[in-house]
Symmetry: D2
Subunit: 398 residues, 4 copies
């Protein structure tokens, strides 16, 4: 396993290099019957497409996705969905100078040491273009989630020193600026900061935050495949991500239990309305109501705060799931840098060409889709957690 | 898959609850021929044992590990190693009050919702006692790593607001205080802070840092099973961990490329000495030297700084691997907290009994061993990365 | 992965050696809420226990199973179920002579070559005692299946040249003879045959057949994880199994399509009753009936014959699933055999001690339980095959 | 996991339908540095191509494979190799009649029941065209094996009642007849038999045998991932395979231990030459010789017979690995058959169009390549079986 697959039931397998013929992904385990078109996927890919502003690379890839299998008459068939985006714009010569020199902050050196040689035309598998596969696979997952009432929303929370102001945060305006910052003031400041970095032939890091609403309670497995650890793996596997936190994250390490613990409460007027609802149900169907009764009540449990970020014991707790990912600055900078050659000589390098001064805006959709892949997989795994539900499922569907 | 297994080749399967008969782990895929005794594992378990200071619970578990299989005449046989720690001190009545009430910050509510009911005697699988399985499995991994020249060292970096001073950091003194802080001054301050928290019937969070030295270059798989994402998953699967970062982590998000990029350089006198070394080798054995030549040179590549934390493109880069984990405050506090009952009534709870005001010191060894499990697994997976090495391996060993 | 785990959702991990401390298994992914006691498992283990007749070894192991985790107040909790059978009767000296000699037909030689040495006290992991783990894990699976209306029934179909007569086959009498042959006449002949083999210091092979009734249609995944290939892997992983076939199996290779194809027909009076049933449903609830209508009708499809053995395209087709496993003769025989020593000298060996002249009768329950493990796993995996059912599941259980 | 992936380290993921855009496979975990061209794969695909004789379908697919990723400058890079064969000849109308009728012996009915609907244009995923993915992925594995000195050779052993005569068996002439039978006399008889079946609008089953030479000893994992069970799963996952046996297989069930056990012997003059060889080595390099000494001797162990088919205890034993697969007759026959419609009506069907009267000849290469995939995967997994070899590997390659 060279680690190009992720997931247990909803399982994706990524392939392709930045300067090869294309990039693609095979999605295995997507439930049958989902209405799916290339357009459903394309809208996600367009969000990570380069060439959309002065902060993204000038490569004019069409990045048109093609569905090669797994969809018949507009619906998924339950069999593997193969997606491909052919590379159109392959100026390999742009990269010829770096064949023999290790770019600082890139995977050139580690690739050479692991495999004995590397595809030196750009980053190969370590290129940002590999995220096309993730985004395409996650677009499908996100569509399934949407049908289940689950929304995954990511945005640029900070760029360098500029952070979205919680008071100005307006999710609906995220896509109105090239930085995907849902706060126009912060966006303008960040743009100014990035212009400065470009001038300095430098680059910037940033933070993406992701908010998931509508998750059923109890999704995630209690030990190694926690919702938190699974999300962590998925997000930390995105190139350039150096940190991941759930809820209060690192701030929780400086907090105290009496603050960090989220109190449980019944929703306003809950015990009454729950009883009422339960009794109504009882009139309709005595025994199914009984067995579901305390669960229904439990359904009205809420947390007064959400320091936990929607996950308790590795399982979703019904609150919004909130996590953040820290992205390092783009390593490709035009400034002169010290490095070494493949032959073991000290050298200097200036990386010109088409590179974003910041990865974060284009990574927003990647975070969103990788989260969707993880959530859907754990939702499907979770279906067998209770014997009564398994029995009912097969009783009903036989 | 209820997610109780982790790893591809070195694969561990954890079982057991805090108030059941015991906790154990099956280690599958440990290479044959490792000298292994119960004592090798016990020294790690003793580091997480409760009852060692006023900051850890009063439970006096012996926590004696027993090897049930996989070792013959003092050496591992290559077959699964089954380890068990029987529970000795099961005061279930301590917990009887919580059967019907959801403790804030705990997994009681999510367990009930996922499975329909739960083992209400303590945290069940979500208890800190589950980490016995991780520690035992990781102790074996750590021994293998040691034989390969790889050291994994974790320590308490901060407790609440108190952080180890880099200038006073002395790894050798870590075990001289109950908090596993390798800085005596910080340890004393942290103790005072914790005494205050105990007085306030409160608890504290903290940060563990882990440093790995001696890793070969190129370990980790480039896409989903990166060294960083695999470590992230392993560490984020430890209960109470809310954040994970590699190298500069979240600070990198505020940095710029010209600072964050680590320059490569040849080690002092390198290009000469490399050439010399290469030629000496040539004299001994012409053709093996040739095929290894540029690799040897590459072997002397180092990074001038280590903002990356030893990982580039998801693969080890030869520098120390450095990561940090943020732990939330212990959720069990004696202070009165709002919550709800299983039956959907608002309620209050005070959690008395045996609880640490801080999880971090006992978690240090858990972080260390989970890292060891991950590193060893990826080292074994990495053995098949190059065809020439695979062929040489079988040619030699046939 | 040293391959000691099997399954995706219902996943079992086996450990232990014949002359170590014991043999055990961890069952991960068993749905919560199953009523489970040690007795439920013990009845299966008792069927494979040695010392029950003159055809099974004289070892008087109690083989008492103990549940160490995953069950609370008599029900499974959804967390891993750890089972152990401690070894009681460890006469290692019986085996001391074979430490340096490779027994023909055994794994001694291959173990030594793979791992560099072996636990020479008996077969180690290759011993028949390893099947305790399989049987215990499968007993739980079989109980779940029973609750879903699925029965798994295996029996001794042939011993050497003696085969059960289809006309005399009576499943209810299987357990009335030590050979588990559901045909008294064949059982008596087989006993005579085995007595002869014992006299000749020889052993016999045989065939186990397994019949599964009540399986829902559509279980099994269409490509690599077919129901047939998954059953094949599980059964071929039992020591001494050298062949596996589904339905007509090898006989199908000599057949023709017009015979081997199983015609589909609607069950007697079906189209009418189906229509009637469908219309009744329509009266109750218009739109759910519509969407389920053709499925209901399809539910009355049956095959006129069952050459396919209940599997079409790798998925269950609603007919009984029928497969057979061929077991080689017990390799341990008292007769003098040629072999070599660990030091590379030619040698002779006579294997005395406690060995069955036939493996098959004790293997019947192993086949049955391994089938149960496989069926349950694929049933759980299958729950996410259709989006409408996934949505309905979460809608209903939220 | 919809089961479209197979393998642990060398892992293949298959996608595509017979009447979709194409069929493809992603190969993850192929070691870097293998010289690989499309031609290497094409020669295998050409062996399963239709339209080559009167016994294979008339579809004139070019079946040209394209490598989309994972190969750079003619060598594998260690990253996933994506292969695609686009469908050229899609006469969907040929199949329009079967949209609403279940073909006996096909997966139409089970697909509909599992997924709610199906791609009714041909067999979809259950079509023989899916084996393009297997063959392409296995061609790469076979090339790696060849470089390691391992040959995988499959052939048509029987067609209906006609079986290759062991005395006339000549592996070198296999490809000289359209049936891939390495016995000209049997081939002519089988052709006559098939002509008769075509005349009768019927079809035939058959048996493929596979022989693997040059395998190192000790490959395969001792419990669930035995070499035998892994091969069994891979082969039984090929559509139409109903039986699998290793070595003597089902015949072993009728045999006795004294016959079925394969005696071990040292090769001719072995103990002397082994000693001599060992001492020579000792002169060169004392300590490496010592540690390898008894292994070298063991290297000269051979079995006098091979009833075991090259596998003992689930691991390769150094003899040729021999297995057989039973294929059912092609289910598509022109003769009138009873069946039912999707709407639950009894019906009749005649399947005209392009169908082979026998699957076996085209399946020979599929068996061969699926075996190659399995062997290579287990060879790579096996590299970590011994600690001394792991340490030496990293010591040498660091």
């Amino acid at each position: 396993m060279a680690g190009s697959s992720l997931g247990t039931i909803y399982r994706i397998t990524s392939w392709g290099e930045t300067h090869g013929k294309g990039v693609g992904v095979v999605v295995d385990g997507c439930p049958a019957g989902l209405s799916l078109s290339e357009e459903d996927i394309q809208v996600y890919l367009d969000r990570r497409k380069p060439g959309q502003s002065r902060f993204t690379t000038k490569r004019k890839e069409g990045d048109q996705v093609e569905i090669l299998s797994g969809v018949f008459e507009g619906r998924t068939t339950g069999t593997p969905i193969s997606l491909v985006v052919y590379n159109k714009d392959q100026k390999s010569k742009d990269y010829s100078e770096i064949a023999n020199v290790y770019r600082p902050g890139h995977a050139d050196y580690t690739f050479d040491r692991k495999y004995g040689f590397r595809d030196y035309r750009g980053g190969g598998r370590s290129s940002g273009r590999e995220t096309i596969a993730r985004t395409a696979a996650g677009a499908i997952a996100a569509k399934v989630l949407k049908e289940m009432g689950i929304e995954v929303y990511a945005y640029t929370r900070s760029i360098g020193p500029v952070t979205v102001d919680p008071d100005l945060f307006d999710p609906s305006i995220r896509d109105q600026n090239a930085l995907y910052m849902p706060d126009e003031k912060a966006a303008r400041e960040a743009e100014a900061y990035l212009d400065q970095k470009i001038k300095e032939m430098d680059s910037s890091g940033g933070v993406v935050e992701c908010i998931i609403s509508g998750m059923p309670v109890g999704v995630g497995e209690p030990v190694f495949d926690k919702l938190s650890s699974s999300l962590g793996k998925a997000i930390l596997s995105i190139g350039a991500v150096k940190g991941f936190e759930i809820g209060d994250g690192f701030a929780a390490a400086q907090s105290v239990g009496s603050v960090n613990n989220d109190a449980f409460v019944m929703t306003c007027g809950s015990s009454e309305s729950v009883n009422k609802e339960a009794s109504e149900i009882t009139e309709e169907s005595e025994d199914s109501a009984n067995k579901e009764a305390d669960e229904r009540k439990a359904g009205h449990v809420v947390k007064k705060t959400n320091h936990a970020g929607g996950i308790l014991g590795g399982m979703s707790d019904g609150s919004d799931i909130i996590f953040r990912a820290a992205f390092k600055p783009t390593p490709s900078i035009a400034r002169k840098q010290e490095t070494v050659t493949r032959d073991g000589e000290n050298a200097e390098i200036e990386i010109h060409g088409r590179h974003d001064p910041i990865i974060v805006p284009r990574a927003v959709v990647v975070v969103e889709t990788m989260a969707a892949v993880t959530l859907l997989d754990l939702l499907l795994v979770n279906m067998s957690s209770r014997l009564d539900r398994v029995k009912e499922f097969y009783h009903k569907n036989e």
